[in-house]
Amino acid sequence: MTSYLIFVLKRFGQFLLVVFLGVTITFFVTHLTPIDPVEESIGAITQMGQSDPNAIELMRKSLRELYGLEGSIWQQYLNFWLRLATGDLGPSLSAFPTPVSTIILRSLPWTIGLMTVSTLITFVLGNAIGALAGYYRKNMVLKGVSLVFIALLPIPYYILAFVLLIVFGYLWPVLPITGGYEMNANLDLSFALVLDILEHSILPALSLILVGAGSWLIGMRALVSNIITDDYVTFAELGGVPKNKILRSYIARNAMVPQFTGLAMSLGAIFNGTVITEIVFGYPGIGNLLIEAVHAGDYSLVLGLSALSIVGVAAAVFIIDVLSPLIDPRIKVE
């Protein structure tokens, strides 16, 4: 138990390092920006007819405080951390004065939902086909299915999503290709709404699954074909243990361990893919929000989204890391 605790603490240290590096990069990149968020909003407000110089000066002062641009760069840096910790990221520019955190929280469930569901399906599907293809090497059907997934693997998310959009949007319009639900849908929780949301998530999820499953498949297939030659598998085969049972409880269980580690390591890439896919399909998650924020020049929203993405992904990696020894009896606490 103590060894497990040490392991968790180490992983937690790694988590803190990722957050520290990510947030620091984010902060210093944005503070080299030629955009002055305060002047931007003052410009927006004066266009509405407010032009009393005293009032503008007062506004400038209060906005500087709002955006945490007071004091030297180190003070600002410390303040940025404090505000991140309290979840106060200042007001949004494009939707002034709504707080950035409110806007992000509105989009977050969509991204988390899409990412979780498609990652689960991708992981299970890829590993299942990979394990079968590794064990039954002669099976032509499995070979064919594997080949399709492997061929899709190198295609960039954007291109595949784009192709799906053309196929299901123009050539064979059966699925909704944009948004998270119908435009004029009644947003009270009902069976119809759930169906609607599911229907809108099919294409984004499908493009993520099609691109992602191949890498798990290749990894699992290689692992299984290596384990097959191990003595204990041969022994089980000679002992007449049913083939299915050998694959399930002798081979797959051992092969899953490195795959699980791989899942933690590739979460950043999976998040990238989710964000890109959301943009193509106009899915109302973090990806869309990020693009809108860039086009609107919404300084605090872009900053908040980048920082939050890094913290969120790091937290997810930490959770998976801490869970992985529970499947792996040979816990490595170096």
Binding site: G13, Q14, L17, V18, L21, G22, I25, T26, V29, T30, L32, T33, P34, I35, A151, L153, P154, I155, P156, Y157, Y158, I159, F162, V163, I166, Y170, A222, S225, N226, A264, M265, L267, G268, A269, F271, N272, V275, I276, I279, L290, I291, V294, V302, L303, L305, S306, S309, I310, V313, A314, V317
Partner: protein, 285 residues
């Protein structure tokens, strides 16, 4: 090197297909130097012509020949990928070899940084960089940023090989004969990891070119330089698909798919070649 290529193309279908597809790409890139039109000249030709004998792949709504646009864009995209690959290989070689050889605290510190870089989601960060730099976001800057984000996975791989090399007798011998660490890494260990570096180069190019395309399509790079992503960006800006100018979009998408399949097949067959177990399987079957 040459014998490896000969062996691979003789025994390995995937490598041969990858090589052929890549030859198509290289051919198009060479053709781009003979382009009769300037890369960013517009309205030279009648717009929206479908593919025919005169304009092989049709013309765009901006009065450009799709075929020649395609070759130039492909060249820029490929050079971008190669630039990122070379820079990031240098970083991952240094980090991987040093961490593997030095071990101890050096290894731990380097790997902690390595793992952090590995899990940071790059896409939001790249968008942030564009947001900050706007017009001063040149291709050189983007290459450097991408290289700084894309070395960690391969550094880990190189490190694992380097750890194995450290315990080999020839390393001990080099140490006793008074070679410096730098000399051992460059002269003794580097040749062993080079085959792996070649395989990872392809994967790294797949990643960086994929990012370039995504960023360009969204208009988050320098929009004056034609690249594969930029072609799709302009096609989208002119609603090419809706107005039925499908060849403007189909051409870059097809070439992108060819390029990625080529890189992927090459990297897969190289990986297989590097792994003696699967090489034996292939010879045995």
């Amino acid at each position: 090197m040459f014998t490896i290529i000969r062996d691979l193309s003789r025994h390995n279908m995937e490598f041969l297909c990858g090589l052929l597809l890549f030859a198509v790409i290289v051919g198009l890139v060479i053709l781009s130097y003979f382009s009769p039109y300037g890369a960013s000249d517009i309205y030279l030709l009648p717009p929206d012509m479908p593919p025919d004998g005169e304009y092989w792949l049709g013309t765009t709504s901006r009065g450009q020949d799709v075929f020649w646009q395609l070759t130039t864009g492909l060249r820029n995209t490929l050079y971008f990928g190669i630039g990122v690959a070379i820079l990031s290989r240098i970083i991952s070689l240094v980090v991987g070899l040093v961490a593997g050889y030095a071990g101890g605290a050096v290894d731990r510190v380097l790997m902690a940084i390595n793992d952090s870089v590995m899990v940071i989601p790059q896409f939001p960060l790249l968008i942030l960089f564009y947001f900050v730099l706007k017009d001063s976001m040149t291709w050189t800057t983007l290459i450097v940023i991408m290289a700084l984000l894309g070395w960690s996975y391969d550094a880990r791989l190189i490190r694992s090989v380097a750890i194995g090399l450290k315990s080999r007798p020839f390393t001990t011998q080099s140490v006793y004969s008074g070679m410096t660490m730098r000399k051992i890494l460059v002269e003794e260990h580097l040749p062993y990891v080079l085959p792996i570096v070649f395989a990872t180069t392809m994967n790294n190019m797949i990643w960086s070119i994929g990012m370039e395309i995504t960023l360009s399509v969204l208009g988050f790079t320098d929009i004056e330089t034609p690249t594969m992503g930029m072609m799709i960006y302009w096609a989208n800006a002119h609603s090419a698909l809706i107005s039925g100018i499908w060849w403007w979009v189909a051409a870059p998408v097809a070439v992108i798919v060819i390029l990625f399949l080529a890189l992927f097949l090459l990297s897969m067959s190289m990986n297989e070649y590097n792994d003696p177990r699967s090489r034996l399987n292939r010879m045995g079957s």
